[in-house]
Structures are given as structure tokens and as C-alpha cells.
Symmetry: C2
């Protein structure tokens, strides 16, 4: 498996808009076992994203999906900073979807 | 929902042992929607834990579950540092288990 934890800081007032774009883009990604978007309760402009994939290959391939390619240029202008907090190797979990890469 | 992202640094050589203890403790926690344990590929002594719960109440209650209470004294001596990277408010996700608090 392959995982990433990211902290995304957006421009003031843009968090809801960014959230909607991310939800649409992430709704159907082959090989994605978990993709959780969370708001920071302390920082109004921050989203946390935690991802788990069956492989790094699936993650990398997702960047070429039509829905993701379409979302990126809409998301980018809303984002101040994208911090990759950690790249991880998930080894066990509750809530890892059984959907596998096609 | 309520979430937490934590970085756990353990003593050298103890990561596998800590992983097993966490797996056992986390296997059956009411209200836990996602609990993913990941190894750091870069830091041999680091585990990342990403959690999502139906409520903070469920999370807090989990600390009183017999399996968790039994695990804590076994886990604690293996841990150098427990860093709470973020407390979050998960708002959407793939892989959020449907299991609810009893």
C-alpha cells in the first residue's frame, strides 16, 4: 500500500469550494482504498487529506484520470500552500475499501 | 465526525511489536469509522495513525474499552514520543466504515 497525509491551506473563504472540488475528483479513483477529507477546527482555511492506495502506481495514475485533470486547474487558484506532511506505507486499517485498481 | 492524525516514534526495533498491539486494540471500537496504521518508509521507528470517529465522545469512550485499557500499559514502554499532528473534523471520505457506536 501507499499513503499520504497532506495539509492544504486555501485562501480565506475558499475552503468549502475546494472541498467540493476535491470530493468530485476523488469520488471514483481506481486503487484508492481510503481518502478522507477533514476540516481543521482551529484553522478556518485548512483541510487535511489522508489517503491510502493499493500502490503508488495507482496514486500516480489517478493524476491522469479525466475527473482529476479537470479538477486541478479549478483547485489550484484556491490553494495557498499544499504541505505533504508524510508519505506512508499503510499496513493495517479499519475502513480500507476493498475496491481494487482496474 | 471527529478525527486525529498522530505520529508515533517508538524505540529502535520496537515498531512491529507496537503495530501488533495497536492492531489488536483497535480491531473492534464502536464509533470508529476509520483507523489506518502506516509505517514511515523513511523513519524506521515511526508509525502514522489516522483516525476518524462518528464523534469525539466515541473516541473518548474507546479509551475505557477493555481491549484498549489492556493494551496501553504494553504499548507505553515502546513509545518515545506521541505527537498529535492534528485534531480534525472529517467531512467526507472514501473508506469511512458504516459501523456506528452502540
Amino acid at each position: 500500500m501507499w499513503g499520504m497525509i497532506a495539509k492544504i491551506t486555501c485562501f480565506p473563504g475558499k475552503r468549502s469550494q475546494l472541498l467540493e472540488i476535491l470530493k468530485q475528483a476523488a469520488a471514483d479513483m481506481p486503487g484508492c482504498l481510503s481518502y478522507i477529507i477533514a476540516e481543521s477546527p482551529d484553522e478556518d482555511n485548512v483541510l487535511w487529506v489522508s489517503e491510502a492506495w493499493d500502490s503508488q502506481t495507482s496514486h500516480d495514475a489517478s493524476l491522469s484520470l479525466p475527473g482529476v485533470r479537470e479538477a486541478l486547474p479549478r483547485a489550484r487558484p484556491l490553494i495557498v500552500e499544499f504541505e505533504r506532511i508524510a508519505v506512508t506505507d499503510p499496513v493495517w486499517g479499519i475502513g480500507l475499501s476493498a475496491k481494487t485498481a482496474s
